[in-house]
């Protein structure tokens, strides 16, 4: 199957591959998997004092579309608030990357990973989250 240029670009030069300290209080970690294909994705956010996402990293073991989706997701969420990041839809990712219909589900992994990372970060600061937003 032919990947779009944007997928190839993200696949060949993935942005923000890496790991943040998952035990740090200002880091949220999202770990999601798709049992249907056996792929797994980790996406982490580091939230600054102003409540903005100042860094994001990912590690994905999956198909090219999943890698491109998570790479793009980390680019998109940097500088955003948690609400803005959590409102990103997989369809926007799929559209931006021109994913074919059979690969749409790969972008779901990225959407769910962002949400999971935001939820993990919030769970770490039960009270601070309301104060900061």
């Amino acid at each position: 199957m032919a990947y779009s240029d944007k997928v190839v670009d993200h696949y060949e030069n993935p942005r923000n591959v890496g790991t943040l300290d998952k035990s740090a209080n200002d880091v949220g970690t999202g770990l999601v998997g798709a049992p249907a294909c056996g792929d797994v994705m980790k996406l982490q956010i580091k939230v600054g004092a102003g409540g903005l996402i100042e860094d994001a990293k990912f590690k994905t073991f999956g198909c090219g579309s999943a890698i491109a989706s998570s790479s793009l997701a980390t680019e998109w969420i940097k500088g955003k608030t948690l609400e803005e990041a959590a409102s990103i839809r997989n369809t926007e990712i799929a559209q931006h990357l021109s994913l074919p219909p059979v690969k749409i589900h790969c972008s779901v992994l990225a959407e769910d990973a962002i949400k999971a990372a935001v939820a993990d970060y919030r769970a770490k600061q039960p009270k601070a989250s309301e104060a900061a937003e």
Binding site: G33, C37, F61
Partner: protein, 211 residues
């Protein structure tokens, strides 16, 4: 899937339907009409019932093979060479559904997946994600170890470890089914899928090296 689940349903429900040939009553899942002996089309029974097997995980390969081949012999094309074309066509469609049942039940993981569907605890399908932290952390770790393996021996070690884990995961899966604990069975089956994927990836890595 809304099919009610029972542990003991050998042969499934014995409904009666009219024989297409003599119009007499025929057992819902019988291959041949009791009255006229003519072949009957496959019904709606599940894959276990199709092979006359009990609906359970714990089935050995020999039992499944014997059940399958015995039924496949009954519908072999040679037996229908001189029968009406309609009978030969029905035999053929029975053969197709026997084959589907066999393919689904013969492989333990596919059998487990099917049982979980019947039980209303299906494994997450296409476009569905899971967030089981313990399982996914393990998967991440194994995939990382494979990615970092820099010699054929190191790749083989990851693969051997995965094989070993698959054996114990299969045993745990069997125990969960035996206890009727479907959430646990689903978790073990999901883990088996991931371990299978890891093994596949390890094979790909060794093939790449060999090339």
């Amino acid at each position: 899937m809304a099919t009610p689940f029972t542990d003991t349903a050998p042969g499934g429900a014995h409904s009666i339907r009219p024989c297409w040939s003599c119009r007499g009553p025929a057992a819902g899942d019988a291959a041949f009409c009791e009255t006229c002996g003519v072949i009957q089309p496959p019904g709606q029974e599940d894959h276990f019932a199709r092979l006359g097997l009990e609906r359970r995980f714990d089935l050995d390969a020999g039992t499944i093979d014997r059940a399958y081949f015995a039924r496949q012999r009954q519908v072999h094309p040679d037996r229908f060479a001189r029968r009406a074309p309609r009978e030969a066509a029905i035999a053929e469609s029975r053969s197709v559904s026997l084959n589907a049942a066999y393919q689904t039940l013969r492989d333990p993981l596919r059998r487990a997946t099917y049982l979980l569907e019947l039980a209303g605890h299906p494994i997450a399908g296409d476009g569905k994600t899971i967030a089981d932290p313990e399982l996914l952390a393990e998967v991440m770790e194994r995939r990382e170890a494979l990615a970092e393996a820099d010699s054929p021996e190191a790749v083989a070690a990851v693969a051997a470890d995965a094989r070993h884990e698959r054996v114990s995961a299969e045993a745990a899966l069997g125990a969960a089914f035996a206890a009727g604990d479907y959430p646990a069975a689903r978790r073990h089956a999901t883990r088996l899928r991931y371990l299978g994927r890891l093994a596949e990836e390890a094979r790909r890595r060794s093939a790449m090296r060999a090339a």
